[in-house]
Symmetry: C2
Subunit: 296 residues, 2 copies
């Protein structure tokens, strides 16, 4: 893997690029005192994803890494299964489309045709399909050190990002031990995860020793996605839902929520947590790097 | 309209019901010191929405007001248009389904059939359809007083809610002047808005003098929904995207973002804002009622 030059953060394979002209725009607003102010605001663009000749969905995205987003979306929705060969991915910036081409028709297209014949449309099947794959998931036993958790949160919060630049955006980071590898941001929290899934699939990166860190809530959908990606640990600054916790326990996913400063809550996989750090020795978050809810 | 008994908040037509047994569950976690802690956590359930015989989508929801959610979802997606008569709504708690029945086939089903014949599925059309209706939107000129904005934010933040009880949930409130009328919460921020749309449709409530307050970000989708509902003002504690601001300006929606304590930013409709309150006389939010990003 080639390492990008990230100044103080030389270890990222992909880091946010808050300076990229295409991702933010100056917008004028008027504040509570009537003062006109220019604010840096994130962009949001439609991207229509096709699987071969089949239009699948229009996602709203900041627009970086459209190929990874399309590939990861199709994979995470179960529309691309193991063994299906991706021949090419064509992104058209003007048309705002991305087409993922496979070798022959995919099993999803086959399934979609069948479903279409019976009930007219497959919108409602997406969720059902995601739960389907879950029973076969056996996540590897990964020891998660609390010292690594604290180091990751500290590094991620300080990494220059679109969030720090403009707010109103979610971040998701693929990590290995104490090292954040790939940090993706997007207006939808699922897009950020899908971009990571697309990158992992493209680069054939193993999931077994990875942890996924997200700024978003740990809902059932987020837990299912992580488990289907084969990643054995998921940590977040935010809260969680009851069903998210239940699914994590069923599939053996280590689940950490409400992680901020020295505090965190382990909801699943407590026995795989190695408590090698003294929480009282951990610095609380300083004001500048604390995430405001404005961002989420 | 019948007023519910809300103690200190007698003016709500519908207020959150944080004590409802079905909406939260005690979940055990282990904190940073290894202490086992029981936490109140929001539930999340699948709800499959049908339009007549047509399965449309499976939404993840806390599960209150399934009828309003289904009705509002179909309306906000353009699947139920003006003049279409809803004969009945059948909710089945065990099957986790809700069926909205109209008088005869809807124009959406007609359209879906056509679309299905040409490209196999209509997943990707939903977004296109939402933008389609937008060119006809002419929002009424509503004067928004800053004193009302401050009063609303203060009242809403202090209203007993699932958020204050369990976190990890979005809130959306339909307001009139300084009065919050209907306060819906849900795991998905769009569900909360859809439940309000369903209530407005059921009760035939006019949108022309209303303001929508949300805890979530002001993305294009949120702005489009509000405009299509005919509501002339939208305010949020959170940030905004460039396209959300652009659409608000095009349709004449008054858009207020980053509203917390005395601070706010008006992004669109500044000329319809009546600045009748001195921001420096407004109290900042106290710690207890400040939303943490954990919620969002």
């Amino acid at each position: 893997m080639q390492l990008a030059d990230q100044g103080d953060f030389p270890d990222y394979v992909i880091a946010p690029d808050p300076g990229a002209a295409r991702l933010t725009r100056a917008v004028e607003g008027v504040d509570q005192h009537g003062r006109v102010t220019a604010i840096s605001v994130v962009e949001e663009r439609p991207l229509t994803i096709f699987l071969n000749g089949q239009e699948i969905v229009t996602a709203m995205t900041i627009g970086d890494y459209p190929e990874y987003l399309a590939l990861g979306f199709l994979r995470n929705q179960g529309m691309l299964r193991n063994g299906e060969v991706v021949k090419g991915i064509d992104y058209d910036e003007d048309l705002e489309t991305v087409v993922v081409r496979t070798d022959g028709q995919t099993s999803y297209e086959e399934k979609l045709k069948k479903k279409t014949r019976t009930s007219g449309c497959a919108v409602g099947t997406v969720f059902g399909d995601m739960m389907e794959g879950l029973e076969d998931v056996r996540l590897p036993d990964l020891t998660v050190k609390t010292s690594d958790l604290y180091a990751l949160a500290h590094a991620i919060n300080r990494t220059p990002s679109l969030y720090l630049e403009a707010g109103a955006i979610h971040g998701t980071v693929l990590c290995q031990g104490a090292r954040p590898l790939v940090y993706m941001e997007d207006v939808g929290r699922h897009n950020a995860v899908d971009k990571i899934a697309g990158w992992m699939l493209s680069e054939q990166v193993s999931a077994t020793d990875k942890l996924l860190y997200t700024t978003g809530r740990l809902t059932s959908e987020m837990v299912i996605k992580t488990a289907l990606m084969g990643i054995p640990a998921l940590a977040s600054r935010s809260g969680f839902t009851a069903w998210g916790v239940e699914i994590a326990r069923e599939v053996g996913l280590t689940l950490i929520g409400r992680m901020r400063g020295k505090r965190f809550m382990c909801l699943s996989g407590e026995d795989r947590l190695l408590r090698d750090a003294d929480p009282d020795a951990v610095q609380d978050e300083d004001r500048k790097h604390r995430r405001r809810s404005a961002a989420l």
